[in-house]
Subunit: 356 residues, 2 copies
Amino acid sequence: MADWEANVRRVVPYTPGEQPKRNDIIKLNTNECPYPPAPGVAKALLEFEADKLRLYPDPAALELREAIAAAVSIPEHPVAADQVFVGVGSDDVLALAFLTFFNSKKPILFPDITYSFYDVWADLYGIPYRTPELDERFRLKKADYLTENGGIIFPNPNAPTGLMENLDTIEEIVAKNPDSVVIVDEAYVDFGGVSALPLVDKYENLLIVQTFSKSRALAGMRIGFAIGQKKLISYLNDVKFSFNSYTMNRLTIACGKACVEDRGYFQEITGKIVATREWTKQKLAELGFTFPDSKANFIFATHKTVPAQELFENLKTAGIYVRYFKKPRIDNYLRITVGTQAEMERLVEVLAELVK
Amino acid sequence: MADWEANVRRVVPYTPGEQPKRNDIIKLNTNECPYPPAPGVAKALLEFEADKLRLYPDPAALELREAIAAAVSIPEHPVAADQVFVGVGSDDVLALAFLTFFNSKKPILFPDITYSFYDVWADLYGIPYRTPELDERFRLKKADYLTENGGIIFPNPNAPTGLMENLDTIEEIVAKNPDSVVIVDEAYVDFGGVSALPLVDKYENLLIVQTFSKSRALAGMRIGFAIGQKKLISYLNDVKFSFNSYTMNRLTIACGKACVEDRGYFQEITGKIVATREWTKQKLAELGFTFPDSKANFIFATHKTVPAQELFENLKTAGIYVRYFKKPRIDNYLRITVGTQAEMERLVEVLAELVK
């Protein structure tokens, strides 16, 4: 080892799902939206003047934050632009939120089965953590989150299970942890889940994180956001402006704004995905699969006789990519993104052969 | 203070230059390029299929890294794609490089007068640092960088002075610090400077950072990159993939590639900026200004009688934005970005009145 290597931070990075270069596959492995982004995005692109790219973007991305605030506001719970933080995908938002809010010597808490980036961020920053076990039905045990901690984070619906915890449970966790920031990662909330957004007015230690990558069909554009009370958001902004001032580029701001403004299209595509998910659940059950009752755009399924890893490999051979995690307790499950109805019909057809 | 605030990381963020929403000003305050990006960028935008934005981008941004490698390679010193790291502007690259390489208890070193983000990153991560004084002519004193340290960083040309250190000085600093990573921040190297890229083959502890925001006219797109030996780059990638896997969006990859491939246009616009800079220097000297001999796309100028802050305010009133730093040793200087020839003629005209 060279001398300079002694000072290098060594980490085991997160492994993203495969992004195959082939176009002839059915891609159900990274929870993307099977439908194109709102038509306004193509229009925004077409109307964008390339010459403007010579100038820095607005570091505050105000237009985008205003559009997001308007989109998530409901009459009883309006959200202001200064309650919105934006980042380069929700991973950027979460990475900065860990750095900002989980700055204690006490362990942070997140479930043993959850988004596999949480422990990576904790390791990167040297944040201690504990991972309370979900119960045998993959449910969060509330009592685990009422013990001393330096912060709490969980997705709702959870990934990769798709299970939704109810708002009462979340409110109790937030209310009983006044000395911790509680982050609810709602990447998958728009597929029939219930957002904790109405709790934001009441709790200054609650941060909600959402993304444009799933329900808004813009994974390729990299936009995530967080909502919280002004003070919480201002701390996050201070850290962000100490890391990188200009993260949202001019095209991202223009396209993100156009995307989030089209509420009708958003409801149309999320509605279609939910319908296809429910259809797929029924077919998978008929084929001998069981799965938690997902409220997300994926189904986490296990088969009564055929091992998940074998199905994973055989599906890949058949040109269908799904996600398989070789991890304790979930190594006999497949996480299958809900694609178009036609894609799911093809999946069911291939699975019917594979489990015969 | 609420209980949860005890765990919050408190920082004093970097203050970027003003990005006024008005279009009727002459903007010489953030070192942007006065010319539009290469024509291929508009073409890439026009040809881009918006539907593809539903899918995640290539997390490795391989096409962009290959294009950058080709653009910076010279026959005697070829650069491979796995020697290139890309980020959301060079600030993202630098923020991650600080986190990756400056992980020692010893202080890192950078000049007292330099890019004002370095101390912000050091504070953010809790990295100790020392800031050796530049000499009275704003020259780096080599001996200061041959003392014990946990890492070294400086821009070359330096900001905001524009002064270029020669390659022999840089090589000696790199060679005599085998147990530190030395980062040479070459944001402004393309305006007549000499890059340290040829030293990369020889020193595995040398990281060169460059940007698309100045000489490549893409500040609004957010692209920066680093070049080093494979091993150094792989450490940086590990930390990057522990922070945010997908940073470069699909449009950034497509437009960045088109931009960097047009070598002729790049030479044309940097050549024009250098010519305008030299013309401006002569005119400023005639008006009683003095300045270091900038090799960057800005001039760091002080007037023999009129205070810089007064000029700064009066220029703003006249619709010309330049940068003023209220900091020790440089609070009587203006940093003036080199704009188009017409913009600089207008600047000189207004300054002639202001210093009369």
